[in-house]
Structure formats: structure tokens, C-alpha cells
Symmetry: C2
Subunit: 114 residues, 2 copies
DNA sequence: CTGAATCCGACTTGATACTG
DNA sequence: CAGTATCAAGTCGGATTCAG
């Protein structure tokens, strides 16, 4: 009964593993918007329309704990905190690009079938 | 103030639109397992380890309403129902492949940072 | 065998107010 | 500006029951 290493680690497959990191309502969008450039908290919040402070900081914390996002607190007054993708996060954000393009191509259909 | 069509349709960006379809705990996995071949309900349930009947049928219905999965009820006794990807669903499932590969490559790290 | 329907608790998300 | 605290609302997901 050879079991793949993926399953030994508790994942159904690689996709399942990846979803542990990007699974969450806002995480893919956060990665996507950090992909172009690192951003301050407020900038990010304006990009990810509709997210609340609570969710944004919580999901950023999750992403940071998985090592895909880095947080830099400049300890200034007024506060300044930058969020950026780590190299790992950058590689992850790249995998989201095809999904993003698919969404652009089919958005009319998606909008009409809600 | 020119607003992109994406925003007119109520989406932040293409990724946001795509997430309306695959956003959900099990939907990406369902698409992934249907990608190799169409499956009966029971087969699918065995693939997507841990999913309950309720969630599986609910999420299949969602996917069907978005036109990415097709349901074929053979109206037989005992019941036989097949699920398959539509061409649209196939194109969507393809965009998940890079994410799946990323997960395979980094699964040790993911498993350790929970 | 393939589901739909219902109940219920746990967890997630959201709105608002507040702090350094 | 960058969050935290609190409470309310919504969603998830399991167990059970039922139907064809």
C-alpha cells in the first residue's frame, strides 16, 4: 500500500496543499495586488475593495505565517507598515495569473449567472 | 472617470470574477478531480477526501449553475449520475494546474507552518 | 446508490467603534 | 495610519432522516 508523500503529509494532492495557503476569501486578491509592487496597509485596503480592517489584517497575518508575505514596520509616527511578497509568495502569485486571465475573459458570463 | 468594464460588472479584477466561480472550500478540488475524467457521484466523493454529501452536492450545483460542470442523470435504478467538465470548466481547471504544482513543490513547508 | 431536506453547533466574516 | 475589540450576521459542515 504505497501512499504518496502528499498523502502522508495530510494533503489530498498538491492543490489541496496550496489551498491551505491561499484558501480564504481575500488571500488570492491580496497576493495579486502585492504582485505588482509592495504596498502600505492603507494602499492595500483601497485595492482590495470591500475588505474590512479585521479581515485584511487577519489574512495578512496568515499569509505572513506561511512565509509568502513579509511585513515591515518602520516604527514611525505616523505609523508606516509595508507589506511585500517574499520570493516564495511571488512564485505563488504567479500561479494565480492564469486564473485572473480566465476571469477577465469570462466575466460577462460569470456576472450573469449569479 | 473611465471605469474598466471589469469594475462596471461589479468585480475588482479578473481574479475577483474567477473567485466567484471557484471560491469555496471544495470547488477547486472538484474541478481538479474531474479534469482527468468525468466521474460518478460516489467516485468523486472518494476522491475529494473529507467532503460530506451535503457540501459535495451543494458545490456541484453551484458549479453547474456557472456552466463549468455538467450533470447527467441516467434515470436508472440503481441511480447513476455522472459529472463532467464543460469546455468552459475544462479551461478553468487548466488554470489550476500551476497552483497544484506549486503545492506539490512546497508541501513540506506548508505542512510545517500550520 | 444518489441525492434532498432539516437541524444544529462551530467557525468565518462583517460593521462599527475605539486606540496608540 | 495601522490596526484591535466587540458584537452581530452569515456560512460551513456534520449528523440524521428521507425519497426515488
Amino acid at each position: 500500500m504505497a501512499e504518496s508523500r502528499t498523502q502522508q503529509l495530510g494533503f489530498i494532492c498538491g492543490l489541496d496543499a496550496a489551498l491551505r495557503v491561499v484558501g480564504g476569501k481575500w488571500k488570492p486578491l491580496i497576493l495579486h495586488f502585492l504582485y505588482s509592487e509592495s504596498k502600505r496597509y492603507g494602499e492595500l485596503k483601497r485595492c482590495v475593495t470591500g475588505v474590512s480592517d479585521k479581515m485584511l489584517s487577519q489574512q495578512l497575518k496568515d499569509l505572513e505565517s506561511h512565509g509568502v508575505v513579509s511585513r515591515t514596520d518602520h516604527n514611525e509616527i505616523p505609523p508606516r507598515v509595508d507589506y511585500a511578497l517574499t520570493p516564495l509568495g511571488r512564485s505563488l502569485a504567479e500561479t494565480l495569473v492564469p486564473l485572473c486571465e480566465w476571469g477577465e475573459q469570462h466575466q460577462e458570463m460569470i456576472a450573469s449567472s449569479v
